[in-house]
Every structure is written in structure tokens, then in C-alpha cells.
């Protein structure tokens, strides 16, 4: 269960991309706080405290802005192209007793017998969209794959040991993980027939000679 992490931020007066860029050069991440009918605030968070928070996976944060503390949800994280630097954070004000919709990562536990037997583990779903109390947002949802054999799959409906307040919003028949037989691989590429071109949309074919 996610315990609220504390984060200290400062209100920033200058907005705009240029000022945000200058802040990033100083090792500060621009961020916003909004929600609950209050005015949105532009804040800045030191990157050295923001990065561990994002890496930890905690969603609910006690955000201290100029001495006042608010409970907020880390709503969105923006990274640069290469995923090296944090660009921006979005925080949404929440009540402790409020129910919220949030994406929670899935963590696979155990070793599937199907992998030992030569199968491939495929995981189409890496995060679940859950409805839960703001103070009870799970850090992750563990899925046990100890009994997953080749050809078997675990669906959303198979998840039973969830915290009591958590309701999964994904379709019940969505596949979380399945173990498949490795398909025969064609290593030899067939040579491309010469002169084969894709069909050109809107171009009429020639009727032939004459």
C-alpha cells in the first residue's frame, strides 16, 4: 500500500517555456498543482527529490508549498526524449477519503512452468486502471504466475487477492499475461521479386496496348 511521501516545493512566479528551461538547467523541475475547485498553482520541485519519488512508484504525496501541506496525487510525469531528465510533473489535489482512478503497474511474481518447458511469456497488459481510495493506492499489483503453463493465460477476472477498496476498471476478459509456444522462425528471407511496387491509390490501371 502506498504511504504518503513528503515533498517540498516552492511556488514559482515566472511561467512559460523559457523560464521552465532555465529552471531545468538549475536542476529544478517545474510542476503544477490543480483540482478541488482551488486555483491552480505553478510550483517547482528540486530534481534530486523528484526523481526518487517518481522511481519509487508512490502516487500519493504530501506536498508542502510555502509551509502549507496538501495531499496530492502524482498525475503525470513528463520525460525528455531519451528518458534521462524529468521535464514536468502534474499533481492533483485529493481528499484522503476520495475515490480516484489511477494506473497501477503489474508485477509478475514467481517462475512459470511454461517458461521452463520452453514457452515464451507475453505480457500484453503492464498496468491496471483501478478505482480506489486515495490513501490506499497500491504501489503495484502482484500477479502470481507459478501455475502458468504453455497455452494458459491469466485474465483480469482471475485477480482475486486485491486490497478491499480496489476495483479494477479494465475489461474482465483482458489478458494480463500468457505463455505461448515459440513459433517456428523463418530465417531465410525470400528475395523481393523485382519490379513489385505497391498499388497507387487513385491511379487507374492501363487498359493495355491500343
Amino acid at each position: 500500500m502506498s504511504t504518503a511521501t513528503k515533498l517540498t516545493a516552492n511556488q514559482r512566479s515566472k511561467s512559460g517555456s523559457r523560464n521552465a528551461h532555465r529552471l531545468r538547467l538549475e536542476g529544478i523541475v517545474p510542476a503544477n498543482v490543480y483540482g478541488h475547485g482551488k486555483d491552480p498553482l505553478q510550483i517547482s520541485v528540486p530534481a534530486e527529490t523528484a526523481r526518487p519519488l517518481v522511481a519509487s512508484g508512490h502516487k500519493v504525496v504530501d506536498l508542502e508549498i510555502d509551509g502549507a501541506t496538501e495531499k496530492v496525487l502524482l498525475r503525470e510525469v513528463q520525460w525528455d526524449t531519451f528518458g534521462n531528465h524529468l521535464l514536468h510533473l502534474d499533481f492533483m489535489r485529493i481528499d484522503a477519503e476520495q475515490r480516484i482512478l489511477v494506473d497501477v503497474p503489474i508485477h509478475l511474481r514467481g517462475t512459470a512452468p511454461g517458461i521452463v518447458a520452453g514457452g515464451i511469456l507475453e505480457q500484453p497488459l503492464h498496468a491496471l486502471h483501478v478505482d480506489c481510495l486515495a490513501i490506499e493506492v497500491p504501489d503495484e499489483i502482484a500477479v502470481r504466475i507459478n501455475s502458468l503453463d504453455i497455452g494458459q493465460s491469466i485474465h483480469v477476472r482471475d485477480l482475486t487477492d486485491l486490497p478491499p477498496s480496489v476495483v479494477i476498471k479494465n475489461p474482465a476478459d483482458a489478458v494480463i499475461v500468457h505463455c505461448v509456444k515459440p513459433s517456428a522462425v523463418e530465417d531465410v528471407a525470400a528475395p523481393t521479386p523485382g519490379g513489385v511496387e505497391p498499388e497507387v491509390i487513385g491511379k487507374k490501371k492501363d487498359d493495355g496496348e491500343g
Binding site: I120, A127, D187, P191, P198, E199, V200, I201
Partner: protein, 139 residues
């Protein structure tokens, strides 16, 4: 058979310029590990095919390979030993336009070491610089 579109609106396209970094297709979306481009470039369909074969020969049965780029840009060429002029050449091959940050290949169901070794083999075939990236937590 090398990848190419089934239908196109125009047979030939202008060369174009590759500006800026990738703002989409720059995260690992399907597997656990990805091969991200650090340079801009054009990847030929035959190169993608060579990469696919090299990767599948290594990860055979150990994981699944995802190809995240598609060669949808035609490149023309003039026949050998012909004089200049008489217009643009005929379509010769297809390329995928890759910007810095594009995740070109992904692997699911393989260990980190296997993915690293596999992508090392793939990277040798590519005309752009690459690096191994992992799925970001929460994506």
C-alpha cells in the same frame, strides 16, 4: 520478404530533412527492453529484415521480438551508367525515417543479458547509433 507498404498515394517522395528528436514512439511500449536510436537516419527495409533475422537467430525461443519501425518512404535511384537528366529515377527501395529517440526494436520475455546480447548483434547492422533502454516504471 522485406517490408513495404501495400498501397501508397504517390510512387515517389521528396528526400526531406530529419529535424529534432522523436516525440512519439520513444518509449518501450510492448516488451521489457528496447533498442533506441541516438541518431537520425534512414533504415532500409532490407536492413530491418537483416536485423529481424539476426535477432531471431539469437533469441530463438527465448523471447518475442517487436519491430516498431516501418519503411514507408520510397527512395529512387538511377540505373547504372546512365546520363544525367530525363527526370527523377524510378523507386528502388523503401526506408524508415528514424529520429533520435525512436525505439526501433523491442524484446519481451527475455532476460536483460539476452536482450543486451541480442540488440548488440542488431546494432551492428544499423546505420545509426543505438542504446539499450528498459521499460519505464508505470508505463
Amino acid at each position: 520478404m522485406a517490408l513495404m507498404p501495400k498501397r501508397v498515394k504517390h510512387r515517389k517522395s521528396q528526400r526531406g530533412r530529419i529535424k529534432g528528436n522523436a516525440t512519439r514512439g520513444n518509449t518501450v511500449a510492448f516488451g521489457e527492453f528496447g533498442l533506441q536510436s541516438t541518431q537520425a537516419g534512414h533504415i532500409r527495409a532490407t536492413t530491418i529484415e537483416a536485423c529481424r533475422i539476426a535477432a531471431n537467430q539469437y533469441i530463438r525461443g527465448e523471447g518475442k521480438l517487436y519491430i516498431r519501425i516501418f519503411p514507408d518512404k520510397p527512395k529512387t535511384a538511377r540505373p547504372l551508367e546512365t546520363r544525367m537528366g530525363t527526370g527523377k529515377g524510378e523507386p528502388d527501395h523503401w526506408v524508415a525515417v528514424v529520429k533520435p529517440g525512436t525505439v526501433m526494436f523491442e524484446i519481451a520475455g527475455a532476460s536483460r543479458d539476452a536482450a543486451r546480447e541480442c540488440f548488440n548483434r542488431v546494432a551492428h547492422k544499423l546505420p545509426v547509433g543505438c542504446r539499450l533502454v528498459e521499460r519505464r516504471p508505470g508505463t
